[in-house]
Amino acid sequence: MKRVLHPAYWAPLAVLLVLLGVLWQVGADRMPYLLPPLPDVWSALTTDPGYFLHNSWVTLREALLGLLIGFVAAFALAILVSEVTLARRAVMPIAVVLNVTPLVAIAPALVVAFGFGSAPKLIITGLICFFPILINASVGLRSVPEPVLQVFQSVHASRWEVLRHLRIPGSLQYVFAALQIVFPLSVVGAVVAELSAAGSAAGLGSVIQVASSMNRLATVWAAIFVLALMGSLLLLLVTVVERRALRWHEPR
């Protein structure tokens, strides 16, 4: 952690950020219709922080709830698929095809079907999170080396015991790799769903939509920055939890 505080560590990033900020300002001077000046973005954020806080919370809640639903469903299915060969042969091809289908495209259809409430948002977010978790978890659950399985078979361990003591702990590494992808992605899912539901009342996606229809560029960008921050914080959260959970991974 100390390393991070050393100038050699953060200085290059700081310099680049300042440079980008300057470029932005130059751009904003020349093309005010494309880029709002940074001070405007800042004041859009600070004049009504409650507005952003409330809408951020709505989006964050959709994202995390959708992720939770997607995770539980995907992990349960991964266990089924890794235990039952027939289920694996039936499910995995469908999962792979669905995975390459742009789920973003079905968002409008879901809004038509489920209305402007939170249901379509949770479904979209859940679906987007579902496949990386399903695929990684099912690989992870089957990653236990054969000799380990043989040792447990030689003491007549039940399927449940193998699952609980070997397969599930052995899959964590793979599951965390999926979570690294899926945590930031859950925000994408929530925002896409909000953007698709033209009349939806709240969330940063709605903020962007309303503000851009009213040509309030500063507000649009303020929301985008908040989203970027939210995604980064979520990623940081998974990384920290992973470090703690998989401490055995790096020998000290």
Binding site: P145, V148, Q150, V151, E161, H165, H249
Partner: protein
Amino acid sequence: MTGAAIDLRGIGRVHEDATRVVALDGIDLEVPTGRFVSIIGPSGCGKSTLLRIVAGLEEPDAGEVTVCGTTPREAAEQKRLGLVPQQPALLPWLTVLDNVSLPAKVNRRHNREPLPDMRELLRRAGLGDAVHQRPAQLSGGMRQRVAIVRAFGLQPDVLLLDEPFSALDEFTREAQQQQLLELWEERGATVLFVTHSILEAVRLSDSVVVMAPRPGRIVDVVDIDLPRPRTQELIRSPEFHAYELGLRERLRDAFEQNGVAS
């Protein structure tokens, strides 16, 4: 129990793949209770396959297996078997203590009470300081010792080891052999020990089974009538050498027969 701990009659095994290699053919072997028996032979002669059949991990295509008077699967269910595979097969996320204690947490109904003090077993295997370390922090030799302690912790009637020391350097290997013998003498289990080292086989065993490949078969069983403990002095003795030479001869025969036949 008296009589044979392991009884193999007419065991045959063909692996179900494109090559249809006859891994084992007409294997007859009787291992009396409490004996230390080594299986030696060139790689590919079916040693591991034989061990897996005794452990109930694989079914033979012909013949009958009896382990402690029952089928291998029943013996496994009653926790009478201890298996040490070629790789240590430890769980990287568990400490050494948790690794060796794990077998007692599965199939609990058949645990052999009272359970041994695993800390004490680890300490005696020279792993006292490593109890709370994880496998990644240990040397290869220490990991292998953990795997052996894990098997001994089950207090098995039959201990099955597949080339447990083959990845170790000569020096570590000798210390490990010594520790294995100590544990064996104390517990009095029947041991089936796969190796491809002649020296190791003579040093450890009551008798040595010599196998030859294609098809995997037993060509000789040599009883090692040497006193225990087998000290350095004994290992340098002419009697010991005679056994080594004899086994080397038998192995060469096995190779050449095979060369002529194919």
